[in-house]
Subunit: 175 residues, 2 copies
DNA sequence: ATAAGTAAGTTGCATTTCACAACCAAAGTG
DNA sequence: CACTTTGGTTGTGAAATGCAACTTACTTAT
């Protein structure tokens, strides 16, 4: 019956309407956007990204989801290929290639020729890159704790699960 | 006890671990990002935005959250000022000003001088803009239905509420 | 085995976004 | 009447991103 001691907002009886959470900004309502998933996702993204960029600003890896993800992947999967990174990033190969190019130039990763396939490259992390990857992990963890502190502990798991499900479904939809 | 006939994934007993939802992409795990809100938010954003851009592509209002929001606000609040729009968009005034400039040039809105404050402008929708605003609303509603169809109906309200809460908290954090 | 097709990366290009700084004009405040 | 704050504009520069075209290499089919 969903009557645990969770906060009242955590559990939603399916017959309760509870649409009383009206979103207004400076007194303005936002039309259809008020009920649009896309609005909140997009707005959250811009704030989160800005915050993360600020935290990474000193890091020679600066802005963008791309480099962050790339360096972690290369660190975790020695010999990974650019095209694999592109798939994770959901970017095309030119975009990914440039990200990699920048990281090679910065001495964070190293390119080799894939012995099994002469078209492809194998990417490897350098020592410098490895150190940076560790910093990146720390920053991401810090952001998760500090920035998302407003999510009640009981809600975290659930929110995360919903995001994951949305993400996975969306990926299948795109491919 | 959370034993409704909802899908098993919908209700999360607080003592169940249920972290079995492992996210992999093409067989790759994504390091700390796997547990990071930011990853899912940013990834969702890029897909949603792309989809929305595609749906709007024919609309003289093309890409970006900015114009969409702006035209709806001007339609809903005749005489609204650019700075108010900027606050909703969480952009600075130059960015907002250029969005408005483009929309004026396209004949979607009209600028007047605010009688009460000679620095400020009052924005008004034109007929053309009004028609477009209607199209925009329809597209957003369509996207919400078609694109987010993978969210189970029982989950919608809850996911929405969590997004709203996150959004509102984040706004207070930024201001 | 050779030809056609497909996949990996690169380059060029063109578009858009976006933030910061500097600036002007008008209000409000002492 | 200074001084500060607010509303908007212009300028500039950096960066992301997506598309098209191209080269090289692998794969498949005939």
């Amino acid at each position: 019956m969903n009557t645990d001691d969770n906060s009242a907002m955590t559990s939603l009886p399916e017959n309760a309407v509870e649409d009383d959470l009206k979103v207004t900004i400076g007194g303005l309502q936002i039309d259809v956007l008020e009920g649009a998933f896309s609005w909140y996702i997009r707005s959250l993204d811009s704030v989160v990204s800005r915050d993360l960029d600020a935290r990474m600003a000193h890091l020679e890896i600066a802005r963008g989801k791309g480099k962050i993800t790339a360096i972690l992947l290369v660190d975790d999967y020695p010999g990974i290929r650019p095209s694999q990174i592109a798939e994770v990033l959901m970017r095309d190969r030119p975009a990914t290639g440039r990200i990699i190019e920048g990281m090679v130039a910065a001495g964070l990763i190293r390119r080799e020729e894939d012995p099994a396939d002469q078209r492809a490259q194998s990417l490897f992390i350098t020592e410098k890159g490895q150190a940076l990857a560790q910093e990146v992990r720390a920053i991401i963890r810090a952001q998760e704790e500090e920035f998302f502190d407003f999510i009640a502990p009981e809600d975290r798991a659930q929110f995360m699960r919903m995001l994951k499900r949305a993400y996975l479904n969306m990926r299948t939809k795109c491919s």
